[in-house]
Amino acid sequence: MQINYKIINKNLIIDFNGELDHHTASDIRKQVDELYSEKMLHNIILDLDNLNFMDSSGIGLIMGRYKTVSQNGGKVCLINANNRIQKILKMSGILKIVHVYDNLNEALDNI
């Protein structure tokens, strides 16, 4: 599991590559939180296009980022979630607090 990131106006965009489970989540969490606080950013956009696997540890990770970011007045949103991942997201009810957009442009326009 590997992440890449870019920053577009105070939005931290995280690009996931690989499999998100309990083993990989703790490392990812640390990296994302560090980037977010170090660079004093506002929103987080999680790009799930190259995420090949996600279990409920992913839900925990998204909820955790939601807590941090919303304490800071920001928002978390998801882009490029495939059907498989949408299924788990729906099940978890997380879509009530975190928006899913089709792609990055849509997310940047609406966040």
């Binding site: 969490r29 279990d55 955790g64 498989r84």
Partner: protein
């Protein structure tokens, strides 16, 4: 079609991915769809993760994974000798987690229930046993 396998691994988190791959590779005998295979992988990932973080609380113990194929049915048994679940009914409720500080969502059992057909949980102070089954649709009948 009839086959079975037993896998024993230590409760290290890097074995979560390994366990998923092994079960998926065993299940591939049943000509699963990509969706069915992803269901099985996700359910196995949840159960194995639970043994690691809740059962053994990050101490190292053994996790036993048994798979049985009977016709187009796959049965998966995942066992640990960890501390067990005090109240199984409560544990199975969506969003209930005993470890919110680890960023657990409490959705593990819900995921297993949704992606598999039957889920059976047996637990005592000496450990936990999860039995899950799934029927595969388009199975070749060759032995």
């Amino acid at each position: 079609m009839q086959n079975n396998m037993k896998l024993v691994i230590p409760s290290k988190s890097q074995n979560e991915a390994f366990a998923r791959v092994v079960v998926a590779s065993f299940a591939s005998q049943l000509d699963p769809t990509i969706e069915e295979l992803a269901d099985v992988k996700t359910a196995v990932s949840e159960a194995v993760t639970n043994s690691i973080i809740h059962g053994y609380e990050n101490k190292i113990g053994e996790i036993k994974i048994e798979c049985i194929i009977e016709g187009n049915m796959l049965k998966i048994v995942i066992k640990d000798n960890g501390k067990g679940i005090e109240d199984v009914d409560k544990a199975m409720e969506p969003f209930y987690t005993s470890q919110p500080e680890l960023e657990r969502s409490g959705m593990g059992f819900t995921v297993m229930q949704t992606f598999m057909e039957n889920l059976f949980v047996e637990s005592s102070e000496t450990g936990t046993k999860i039995v899950m089954t799934k029927e595969f649709k388009n199975t070749s009948t060759e032995e």
